[in-house]
């Protein structure tokens, strides 16, 4: 029941937002729904319900391991959104707020979907619901970004439907009775037709990989993250991508049950490392700090995928990384949004000396940068350390070397841009714009909280979390 409420509360709030008359009071629906959602998911996290094996929806261990962080991220972003939408009072926010809430509801459904078709429907719906979010600014550039997102994302999602159909056919060919819950598919195991499973795996990996933003299907990301408001970037990077990642994990489990796990791991490893490499190289070249965040997101998606390829220990590390990356990226996006507002431009050619204009945001941005490049004692350091350990334990020495090289390159790229905009003396035009932007508590505290959470995750992660990740791993790798 509570797990259904997780989906229904945001959707009802979305409908409410559409009907709500007041433009100024409407944003408060966001933190209200976010708070209820967070309380519910925390409650479910502490007292995990029993999920029937053939249930289509349910708060199963994998959802328990990932959904709370999405909820947390949304809550903090919603808090930030109230101040943000007050600054952007000139834009109508009815559709934006409704779409944001709908995305939360559909994300909750997607994380809890235990059925191949249902999972696809949720992902598709999230894709569509996110369209008005990206188009919020209404500029031609925003339109272009939205178009690219929809075209690439839509193609990806279409391919994942084709992959789902192929997996369905694999089950049908193996004598399946048309039950497409992941449990049923895993139960069918070696009975699934191998050639069809392989085709399905490739299509689903490409399809959901597009949604995650793995290279070479990442081309929508820089545009979308560059043109969308900061909150949207944070929720896309921390929430939407995680749904695609859990989808890949669930499908990987089915492929593993069908006896093709080794092949699946190889492809995951390759595509993960390729994403990291591409992202690191682009990070060395980009001059736009919001696009920089997009490439950094591609890199971290690569890390997740790499982790997922390394067996049970790697998957646990990847789930840890979902948390640490989501929270840290959220802090970065929100503080970058502040910088972008204050500076009036996202390019390091025009932005300089932000440490004197907006000292708080700049400080959070720098700290977040260190966190995301895996400097201790923040969360990402420990999660990436776990990935490295899993890689070394499974004998992937070369991959580990490449992984560390990419991290180093990404570090160079990120520091280059970040210090480029933080250091130095501000331009005169920027000074005037910076004066207009006030660093109120509403825009400083949310990223600070997220950064604090990331720190907490690094220094003293609670025992419960590690247990939740371990439970999710047992769900994905059932011991026969």
């Amino acid at each position: 029941m509570k797990s259904l409420l997780l989906i229904l509360v945001p959707l009802v709030a979305a409908a409410l937002a559409l009907a709500w008359p007041g433009q100024r009071t409407r944003p408060w629906l966001l933190p209200a729904a976010g708070l209820i959602h967070a309380v519910l998911s925390l409650w479910l996290f502490l007292e995990p319900p029993v999920v029937a094996a053939d249930a289509w929806l349910g708060f199963d261990p994998l959802a328990r391991a990932v959904l709370p962080v999405v909820s947390l991220l949304f809550l903090v972003s919603a808090w930030y959104a109230v101040s943000y939408l007050r600054i952007r009072a000139e834009r109508p926010n009815r559709v934006f707020i409704a779409a944001l809430l709908a995305v939360l509801g559909l994300l909750s459904a997607g994380h809890q979907a235990r059925h191949l078709g249902l999972l696809w429907i949720c992902t598709e719906a999230v894709t569509l619901a996110a369209v008005p979010l990206l188009h919020f600014n209404g500029t031609p550039r925003a339109f272009e970004a939205t178009w690219k997102y929809l075209l690439v994302g839509g193609t990806g999602i279409a391919l994942s439907l084709l992959g789902s159909l192929c997996l369905g056919y694999a089950s049908l060919y193996g004598g399946g009775d048309g039950h497409l819950t992941f449990v049923a598919l895993m139960g069918q195991g070696a009975g699934l037709s191998r050639p069809w499973v392989l085709i399905a795996w490739v299509l689903l990996l490409v399809g959901y990989g597009t949604k995650m933003g793995l290279a070479p299907m990442h081309t929508w990301k820089p545009e979308a993250y560059g043109e969308a408001p900061a909150i949207v970037g944070a929720i896309l990077a921390g929430g939407v991508t995680s749904v695609a990642f859990t989808a890949i994990l669930r499908v990987r489990a089915v492929v593993g049950a069908a006896g093709e796990g080794g092949m699946a791991d190889h492809t995951l490893l390759a595509i993960g490392l390729f994403s990291m490499l591409v992202a690191a190289l682009f990070l060395l070249g980009t001059r736009d700090f919001k696009r920089m965040l997009a490439y950094s997101s591609v890199e971290h998606m690569g890390i997740l995928t790499l982790g997922a390829s390394l067996g049970p220990a790697g998957v646990a590390a990847a789930l840890f990384h979902v948390w640490s990356n989501g929270l840290t990226k959220g802090a970065l996006f929100l503080s970058a949004g502040n910088l972008r507002r204050a500076a009036g431009s996202p390019s390091m050619d025009e932005v300089r000396g932000m440490s004197t204009l907006t000292p708080w945001s700049a400080a959070i941005f720098v700290a977040g940068m260190f966190a995301v490049t895996a400097c201790p004692p923040f969360g990402p350091f420990f999660s990436e350390l776990k990935v490295v350990r899993a890689a070394l334990e499974t004998g992937h020495g070369l991959a580990t070397g490449l992984f560390l090289c990419c991290l180093l390159l990404a570090f160079f790229g990120l520091t280059r841009v970040v210090f480029g905009i933080v250091d130095g003396r501000p331009r005169r035009a920027a000074k005037a714009a910076g004066k207009r932007f006030k660093e109120s508590a509403g825009v400083i505290l949310p990223p600070l909280v997220l950064l604090g959470l990331s720190l907490w995750l690094g220094l003293c992660p609670p025992r419960m979390l590690a247990d939740a990740w371990a439970a999710a791993v047992t769900q994905l790798y059932p011991t026969p």
Partner: protein, 214 residues
């Protein structure tokens, strides 16, 4: 007998793929797409011996959506937005036609390598689906105009629908979910119209501003 009728329809759909690849006119592309939509909608009616309401629903939704509604919207968008009727190819018409034909042959060859249930063995559904998906991809990549990309996307979707027909009896939900893809197309078209309207307003505004200035 039913099977061979179905195969003739799929063959027609594959021919329309090549037509879509070879044409240089936008209205012709839209027409090819809409005829394909209608053909696809008729197929489930031929496959089933006794008509189930779900199958009927899929058929009606497909004919209305892919065959009438979306092409109509596209034509309207084309008219209101006054898009030039010539397509601008990135991949030329002859190469894309040859690619499409090679893809069709490859799809036929590939199908022989895949294990199929006996009731699907003689059917062209799988090669037809693969060829149509490929055609959609070529159009998506090889044409520059937004509206022609939408057409490409729709043809890609038609291919997926064709594949879905294999599973319509066993798992109707998955096939019905494909209707959501049509929604994506709707959003695309909406985007084209909204963008143009917005631009029209923008230009109007700036003209007003200069008028006041003088």
């Amino acid at each position: 007998m039913i099977d061979s009728n179905l195969n003739v329809l799929i063959g027609l759909a594959m021919g329309l793929n090549l037509l879509a690849l070879g044409t240089s006119r936008l209205p012709a592309l839209i027409r090819a797409m809409s005829v394909q939509g209608v053909i696809l909608g008729v197929m489930p009616l031929l496959m089933e011996h006794q008509l189930d309401w779900r199958v009927l629903l899929v058929a009606v939704a497909t004919i209305c959506g892919k065959g009438l509604l979306i092409p109509g919207l596209l034509r309207r968008a084309m008219r209101t937005v006054q898009i030039d009727r010539e397509l601008e190819p990135l991949i030329g018409f002859v190469p894309s036609l040859l690619l499409g034909a090679a893809g069709t042959i490859a799809a036929l060859a590939l199908t022989h390598l895949l294990p199929l249930l006996p009731e699907h063995a003689g059917s062209l559904l799988v090669p037809g689906a693969l060829a149509t998906v490929l055609t959609g991809f070529i159009l998506l990549i090889g044409r520059t105009k937004a509206i022609s990309q939408v057409c490409g996307y729709l043809i890609l979707e038609n291919g997926i629908y064709l594949f879905g027909l294999l599973l319509i009896k066993a798992m109707p939900l998955l096939v019905e979910a494909g209707v959501l893809l049509d929604l994506t197309v709707g959003v695309f078209i909406l985007g084209i119209i909204v963008d143009r309207i917005q631009r029209a307003f923008d230009s109007l505004d700036t003209r007003k501003l200069t008028a006041l200035h003088e």
